[in-house]
Amino acid sequence: MYHGIAALLGRSMKLDARQLPPNLFRLGFVLALYGALLIAQLEAGSFGAPGLRFFQNIAWLNFLVILFSGVTYFSTAITEEKEEATLGLLRMAGISPIGILLGKSTSRLISALILLTIQVPFTLLAITLGGATLDQILAAYVALGAFIIFLANAGLFSSVICARGGTAAALTCFWVALYFIMPWFAYYISSEIRTAGGPTTTISKWVVATSDLLQQTSVASELSQIVSSGYGDLSDVLPVNEDGQPISSWSWAVWQIRFKMLATTQVISNIIGGLLFFAISWILFDRLTRYERPGFVAERNLFMPLKIGRAQRSPLGQAWQNPLIWKDFYFVAGGPRWLFFRQLLIWIVVIILYAWMSFANAVGNGSFFQFDQLFAIALTIFILVLIIEASIYSSRIFQTELQNQTLSALLMLPCSVAYLGYSKAVGCLLGLVPTCISIFFAWVGILASSVYVDRTLESTFEVLGQPIVWCGVTLVVVFLNLVTTISLFLKWGALPLSFVIVFFGSSCCPLTYILMAFAGAASDPLGAAAGILINIMAMALISLVFHAVIASRLQALGSKL
């Protein structure tokens, strides 16, 4: 077994070393490190503790890189073998499931940990620059290392249960979202209970204790504590020697204290979470990959168990007059039955959430939530769902054609590329209609349950009349266009990459500042209207540019097939 694992591990690492993109990524990372160092040098004259600022930049950069890697790099460990139908060959070579899992995922984990480790000497410069301590640096890397272990295994789990890299990346996004939302939600619950006078009953004490524990599992909050000044100051806890002097900070007794400090709830929980993901992946691996066969791969995953081995299903009926709309509505968005089922599911989640929050509130201050709060929760969740759905459709709209190798057949239809693209977009947009209806119902629900209907209506229009809201819409539109464009260049990872680009790009893009300036300066109705108009024009212009790029890329890809 060990020979097989070693061979697979060696092959994966050699492949990784030979490929250009990972090396470019590493180069980019090193450049970012130098950039952070340069900024620290420039800021040294103006701000105190430049070392700490340098360390903060590096720590958060690492966090984002790990996040991005988790969603893209780790999620494809097994799916790439599935897509190439080579899992069977690995089995035939006598490599056991655990061997494949270790061989495929461990190489990536090692690559990521190496990337983290090689920075330590750079980061130690933070101590020289002043403001950061060795304990802070160690704590940050241990926290990030534990997070990598969690994310690598969450990605591995996704890649075991999903058939394709894209789906696995989307599922890992879901785990990541859950990872960050749960502590935030826990904080909300516990603070509600505490505001209402603290936990009094056994249940409320248990809820608060669990919430407090959950809050400590997030690497984001752990990292923000670590990079704050004053963290890890051991001077108060250092043991003293016989002379009453603190013992050397390199002595074994101090290292014992350090180990205890480093073994935080976040570190332990993240490692345990990672191991759990790995164990489940191992248990499910054989079941989900046993019937590997090219062509069947796309139809096989945990969420569609009924499809395994099925040769037929109930017919969908004839295609619509515009079959491109029909196809994308059914095969990208999921079709009416799935959309209805999904809406129902989300409403059930909303109601459960409302009941839970209301219960927590009742436990805390003895009163349940008002009915309008159900619709407020629904409105928030459905707006989020709308953005998520639109993002997923944007990434899949042309990816499905590339995966099925059908782009050339579509491009040969007697219609323009624009007609093709916009028809497909309409099919996907139809898939958003149910969520839009739910949003409308939630809004009507708020209106209906509100005592002051006029005021609620007025505030709705006030929100829509804010140019800053339209600035946000412009960003979302840019994001969706970017996702579609990147999906034509990358096999997977278009969504997280677009998110990173828009998130960071918007903060340093002059256009965003211009748009926000227009939005912010609009104090009178005329200014607001101008702000909205400028945003809409910018949105249209940017979209047109993206659409031209998409059309040209489609043509190029179609001719390559």
């Binding site: 062509g295 069947f296 796309a298 139809e299 099925r310 040769a311 037929q312 299903r313 017919p315 969908l316 004839q318 295609a319 619509w320 007059q321 515009n322 079959p323 491109l324 029909w326 196809k327 095969f331 499905t400 099925n404 190798q405 059908t406 050339s408 057949a409 579509l410 491009l411 040969m412 239809l413 007697p414 219609c415 179609g558 001719s559 097939l561």
Partner: protein, 363 residues
């Protein structure tokens, strides 16, 4: 095939299928064996925009990142013909096919389909052609019926017609019994049939097939060839790119051989399989134990050479058809007084011609 209605489905007898004209063959043989200037002279003799040419490529050049994929390529495919397109890997076959099916635009030269320029009349051309690529281009999550219905609708067929057309094309490819099956559950051969059915839903006059038999088992391959023959008998023009030379020789009326982006031969298969110097060969088998006949055979007027063939008493006799008829040769050989067991025409095989016309080495 024409699936407008049953009575409109007029089968064209194979003997009425238009063969490439002698003019074309002469022109292209000349072009293939001559420098560029001579090729231009040959090209001048062809009416490139003739709608009777299902495909015509005239001086087409195409480059990928500066590297020439096609270099002043010219050839025609006659309407109603089953025309083979062969060449080594990287010779320019797929590029030529993509140019014809409008997925690429020629960087120089003109490409026409039934006289229509593929750049100027792109939509019209697209309605006239059906292209089956060398990979499965199917939506695996659809059923066979949904897949065909989708493409039929995309070509603008009304719903009622679509049902009829799908039935017809599925019956042609013998897939009626699997129309409600998911494509993902079909075998390779069946997926290939579905792909062919998809190409036929818009009733195109010209079918462009890129390696349609690759990866198929012998039975599926034979059945596919039968389908292609049936389609040809329905009057379709079929331009088929393949590496299986024996099948092409059996199936096609004409062939174009391309190598390193240049056309080596384009014309009737029969012309390609005759000796390059326009000499014919007969193989004679005499009774075992006969004396050496080489000298006697070589002395017959019109015989160019006579060589032993195999280990028995077999001889290959090459003769000039202008001076000696094949029948006359047989009579004269029989009159030599040595018992003649059998004789047969010794034609070159397509693979021999292919090897002669193309250069060695992987591109």
């Amino acid at each position: 095939m024409n699936h407008m209605s049953d009575d409109e489905t007029q089968a064209v007898p194979p003997d009425q299928v238009q063969e490439p004209t002698p003019l074309d063959n002469e022109a292209f043989e000349k072009a293939a064996s001559s420098p560029a200037g001579a090729a231009d002279d040959a090209s001048d003799q062809i009416a490139w925009a003739d709608p009777n040419h299902a495909i015509s490529l005239h001086n087409v050049t195409h480059r990928y990142q500066g590297k020439k994929a096609l270099d002043r390529v010219s050839f025609v495919v006659e309407k109603g013909a089953l025309h083979g397109f062969v060449g080594p890997n990287g010779a320019g076959k797929t590029t030529s096919l993509k140019l014809v099916c409008t997925l690429l635009q020629p960087q120089a030269g003109r490409v026409r389909v039934f006289g229509e320029d593929v750049v100027d009349n792109i939509r019209k051309v697209r309605t006239m052609i059906g292209f089956m690529p060398d990979h499965f281009s199917t939506y695996r999550q659809m059923t066979v019926n949904e897949y065909l219905d989708f493409f039929a609708a995309a070509y603008g067929l009304p719903p009622v017609r679509r049902t009829e057309v799908i039935e017809q094309v599925l019956s042609l490819v013998d897939m009626n019994h699997r129309q409600n099956d998911l494509i993902s559950g079909l075998s390779r051969g069946m997926q290939q049939r579905v792909g062919l059915a998809r190409v036929l839903v818009n009733d195109p006059e010209l079918l462009l097939l890129d390696e349609p038999a690759s990866g198929l088992d012998p039975r599926a391959r034979i059945e596919l060839m039968d389908i292609l023959r049936a389609l040809r008998s329905m009057g379709k023009t079929i331009f088929i790119s393949s590496h299986i030379l024996s099948e092409l020789a059996e199936l096609c009326d004409a062939v174009t051989i391309i190598d390193r982006g240049e056309i080596r031969f384009s014309g009737r298969i029969g012309d390609l399989l005759t000796n390059p110097q326009n000499r014919h060969t007969l193989r004679f088998e005499f009774a075992p134990g006969s004396a050496d006949m080489r000298e006697s055979l070589a002395q017959i007027e019109g015989v160019v050479s006579a060589d032993k063939s195999g280990e028995g008493a077999g001889y290959r006799v090459e003769f000039d058809p202008a001076r000696l008829d094949a029948n006359q040769l047989v009579v004269r050989v029989a009159s030599l007084g040595v018992p003649l067991v059998s004789f047969s025409e010794d034609r070159r095989q397509l693979n021999e011609a292919f090897m002669d016309l193309t250069t060695a080495g992987v591109r």
